[in-house]
């Protein structure tokens, strides 16, 4: 059985609790154990870095140090948490001076980070560590005929890590195909949702949400799949505001990719947190696989 240290991040405690639930359910089905990091702290989203770099690195390093003790790879379901942890680890590895400063602070919490943690995004677990065959083998209710817009967003692939494809990756599509859904050509799949701007620069963020929703409509998708709580909340919960702002009429379901996988695995919707969304999902989705209409 594969085991990971699991860093849920603040959003998954409440705001994105359905992501949390569906992540646990689907991984369990695949024989993967997500072991929550003990006493983790907030990764800081983008905001720490606005204030103080060293503080930001230290707070991330605290989580890394806790994870290092487990000897497991860390999995973060939130793209922002993932990006912060990944690049903090990378920086600490490269900059011994920085690592020394950070470890000096960590001493106060009886921690020490030695640079030996691998950080993965939850979707990478599904895309890399689990084969498409394994996923397929667990599908009991394939999402046939369901057109899904795979929304990558920003911080899973950006900034670039080594030589990965940052413009046209295909792994999300691969997962969706594995559960029987039809990934649509979603031209804006790599564009930003404006999550970090929704408070501070509202109009800009709403316009970004509008563009993404419009593109999903244009590509004739029935649902947008996300892999980040920020993206999900932004794309889903702000649709009314978008409609008010731009005179549009969006009512477009946005689910976590794990929720879609869960449905295909035949896990009861409730266990996947379905029902907590602002925009109800199409009944066809819930029916998928049961009756092929």
């Amino acid at each position: 059985m594969k085991e990971y240290a699991y860093f849920p991040g603040c959003s998954l405690e409440k705001m994105a609790v359905s992501y949390h639930l569906s992540a646990l359910e689907t991984t369990k089905k695949l024989g993967i154990k997500l072991k929550e990091l003990e006493d983790w702290n907030c990764c800081g989203a983008t905001t720490y870095f606005y204030i103080d770099e060293l503080l930001a690195y230290t707070l991330c390093a605290r989580n890394l140090a806790i994870a290092e003790k487990t000897g497991l790879d860390v999995v973060a379901p939130c793209s922002a948490c993932y990006k912060n942890m990944y690049f903090t680890a990378a920086h600490l590895k490269k900059d011994a001076d920085l690592a020394e400063h950070v470890n000096f602070a960590l001493e106060e919490d009886n921690l020490q980070y030695n640079g030996n943690v691998n950080i993965k995004h939850l979707i990478e677990v599904f895309a890399q560590d689990v084969s498409a065959e394994e996923i397929k083998s667990k599908v009991t209710r394939p999402l046939e005929g369901i057109r899904v817009a795979p929304y990558y967003g920003c911080q899973i692939v950006r900034p670039q890590k080594e030589k990965e494809d940052v413009e046209q990756p295909q792994f999300f599509e691969g997962i969706l195909s594995a559960i029987g859904a039809t990934p649509v050509n979603y031209p804006l799949k790599m564009r930003c949702c404006g999550g970090s701007l929704i408070i501070s620069s509202r109009t800009a963020a709403l316009a970004m949400v509008r563009n993404l929703l419009q593109s999903a409509v244009d590509s004739q998708a029935t649902v947008i799949a996300t892999a980040c709580p920020m993206c999900q909340v932004n794309l889903e919960c702000y649709q009314q505001q978008v409609n008010q702002e731009f005179g549009t009429n969006f009512s477009f379901p946005v689910l976590y990719f794990t929720q879609l996988i869960g449905l295909a695995f035949g896990i009861p919707p409730k266990k996947l947190g379905i029902g907590k969304e602002f925009v109800s999902i199409a009944p066809s989705l819930l029916r998928a696989g049961q009756s092929k209409d």
Binding site: Q168, P187, L188, N211, S215, D218
Partner: protein, 671 residues
């Protein structure tokens, strides 16, 4: 030491250049007194040693004192080593028995402390004296130059080089990988800025090559192996089987007319058109003989068909033909292997390969070519729609550290040419997206002005992305080019029907392998390196190997032609000399001490070290050896020695520099 050398030491004042800081009189007296045991019999200082009087002074001493070694303490050997060596030669002393010590560049000009500079000069002279004792008389190495030349690559640069040499009356072997010569130039429609028809100016040259009595043309062929050295290369060429007998084929064309197998032509037509399984790449091909593409020919796949054979009036089809290895002897080589276009697929945000109406520059060349698949009609991928708005994207794959950092030099002008052709043939609205317009050639800037006058839009900004994601009215069904107009600071979304990616130039995929084969090197970018970027642009560090055209770096047609001609001129000069003198700084292996461990074998980048399997010893080919001495240092058995820089010379020089050769020295090595 059995026979004691007689050494003369000459300290130059260089006016006040040296004497102003170094106490030259003291240095000279010091050398006479303290280096006596080393063999110094005379030590002098003089105002200008390099003057004719200074040189005569040395010559006189050589005769009077019977000097066997000379040490001149003056300027850098890079300035006057030849002067003083010649002076010695004039007095019948082997020039290599003269040693220069630089006390100007290394002492008087760089130090202010007069005492320290004087003391350092003494040490340097002491080192020179200790070294010169072990200098050996050397003679330059003369090798004859074979008058034939190998030209690799039959593009415009190689064609030019081949014709120059052949016209001068010498044999040329022109080797081309494709079935025809002509290179990229044969694919183009027009050439900038004159808009000459590319084929019209190129074809006569190709015909000349094909019929020249001094040119042996080997197309559909590749270099297999290169051995030898300047003046005496032996080159093995693999002439791939054409499956067509050149002696009987008349190039009538019936075979490719009758061939039932259509193949997408990814080479000459850049995937825009088709050819047959037996084909000539284009009608004006030289030579005129077709080749059978065995990967696609039905006969080679299924064993039946033979349509070509049936219809051939001269029975020239030969399915059983095999590759042939041809060995030629040549004195010099020109590498003119050209470039590959940048693969625009790599920039995924530009959508090439994903969005139908995104074209590459090479595709557009074929599209606009009257002999091309659309007969010169500029249309969208559907084969009929004439675009109303066309966007031309500059710097695709160039000036970008994610791909190639360099400027590909030709794309600006190529883009202007495209804009002009689109304007002329379709009247479409045209946008050029550029970072900077680079138009530095004759008539180039004027061409740019002409385009401005034609009403082409110029948007200064590197294109961020091309997509089909519609957002605004008027964008439906269009490609949207997103870019900042950096002159206004506005982000634009320009809807176009057709986008042309002006792809940059890249080194050939196998440039590194070719370079290694010929013992030269590539820059970090992958272009072959010239001997000197300014003053020796077509020679390389390996004697006898020259480069011309885009293999050296991106350049346009006139520059490629100029380099082809320049390389030819350099080689003709060598051929006229009949033989070449090589510096006698060489490595050699003492056979009895060599155990054949083979450590040295691939230490040499010039392939100068051969291993004799039979005797289990390695040997240095003196004509290939460039004298770097790396193998001398690498030999674990101490079996390799290097002339001019022998172990004895250098170890002795170290002792000299540390003044260990002087019994009374105390002050330099503290107790």
């Amino acid at each position: 030491m059995e026979k004691k050398e007689k050494i003369g030491v000459y300290v130059c004042h260089c006016g006040t250049n040296i004497a102003g800081v170094v106490n030259v009189g003291e240095v000279s007296t010091w050398a006479a007194e303290n280096l006596k045991d080393q063999g110094v019999v005379v030590s002098r200082d003089y105002k200008f040693m390099c003057s004719s009087l200074g040189q005569e002074l040395i010559q006189k001493d050589i005769k009077e004192y019977g000097l066997t070694r000379v040490v001149v303490a003056a300027c850098s050997p890079h300035l006057h080593e030849a002067t003083f060596r010649n002076a010695c030669k004039g007095a019948d002393l082997n020039p290599y028995l003269c040693e220069l010590v630089s006390i100007r560049e290394q002492a008087s000009w760089v130090h202010t402390d007069k005492v320290a500079a004087t003391e350092k000069s003494k040490a340097l002279i002491s080192g020179g004296v200790s070294r010169v004792v072990y200098n050996e008389p050397l003679e330059p190495l003369y090798v004859p130059i074979h008058p034939a030349t190998l030209v690799v690559g039959g593009g415009i640069s190689g064609i030019q080089a081949a014709l120059e040499i052949a016209d001068a009356g010498y044999r040329v072997y022109l080797v081309e990988r494709e079935p025809s010569i002509g290179g990229h130039m044969a694919q183009f429609d027009k050439t900038f800025p004159t808009l000459d028809c590319s084929a019209c100016i190129l074809t006569p040259r190709m015909v000349q090559v094909g019929s020249h009595p001094n040119i042996t043309l080997l197309t559909y062929s590749e270099i297999e192996k290169v051995e030898g050295y300047v003046g005496n290369f032996t080159v093995s060429i693999r002439k791939r089987a054409r499956s067509v007998d050149e002696a009987t084929c008349t190039g009538c064309g019936i075979c490719w007319e009758k061939c039932p197998k259509k193949v997408v032509d990814n080479v000459f037509e850049a995937g825009m058109g088709n050819r047959k399984a037996i084909y000539v790449p284009f009608p004006q091909a030289v030579p005129k003989y077709p080749v059978i593409d065995r990967e696609n020919c039905t006969f080679y796949i299924k064993g039946t068909c033979k349509a070509c054979e049936k219809f051939c009036p001269t029975e020239a089809i030969n399915f059983a033909q095999e590759d042939e290895i041809i060995n030629v002897e040549v004195g010099n080589v020109i590498l003119a292997t050209g470039y590959d276009p940048f693969d625009a697929r790599r920039i995924t945000q530009y959508g090439y390969g994903r969005l139908a109406n995104v074209f590459t520059s090479l595709e557009f060349e074929r599209l606009s070519n009257a002999a091309g698949p659309t007969g010169g009609n500029i249309v969208l991928r559907d084969g009929k729609t004439v675009p109303k708005v066309v966007g031309i994207v500059h710097c695709v794959g160039s000036r970008d550290k994610n791909y190639n950092e360099y400027c590909s030099a030709i794309c600006c002008m190529q883009s202007l040419k495209f804009a002009h052709l689109v304007h002329e043939r379709t009247g479409a609205e045209i946008y050029n997206f550029y970072i900077d317009i680079r138009a530095p050639g004759k008539g180039y800037e004027e061409f740019y002005h002409r385009l401005l006058d034609e009403g082409t839009h110029f948007v200064r900004g590197k294109v961020a992305e091309i997509s089909d994601a519609v957002r605004l009215p008027g964008e439906e069904g269009k490609l949207i080019i997103q870019v900042e107009d950096t002159l206004t600071g506005n982000q634009l979304r320009v809807p176009v029907d057709m986008a042309i990616l002006s792809a940059g130039l890249e080194p050939r995929r196998d440039a590194k392998a070719v370079a290694k084969q010929f013992g030269i090197s590539c820059s970090a970018d992958g272009w072959l390196i010239e001997r000197h970027p300014k003053l020796d642009p077509v020679a390389t560090v390996t004697e006898g190997i020259y480069i011309a055209g885009c293999v050296q770096g991106p350049k346009d047609i006139p520059a490629s032609v100029a380099q082809g001609a320049a390389a030819a001129a350099r080689i003709l000069g060598k051929i006229m000399q009949k033989e070449i003198a090589l510096e006698p700084i060489r490595a050699s292996i003492k056979e009895e001490q060599c155990s054949g461990c083979r450590i040295c074998n691939n230490v040499c980048p010039f392939n100068a070290i051969l291993f004799h399997e039979d005797k289990m010893v390695s040997e240095v080919n003196p004509a290939l050896c460039q004298g770097c001495g790396t193998c001398v240092a690498a030999c674990p058995a101490g079996a390799i020695s290097g002339t001019g820089f022998s172990n004895q010379q250098i170890l002795s020089q170290i002792e000299g520099l540390m003044l260990l050769n002087i019994k009374s020295h105390k002050e330099t090595v503290p107790a």
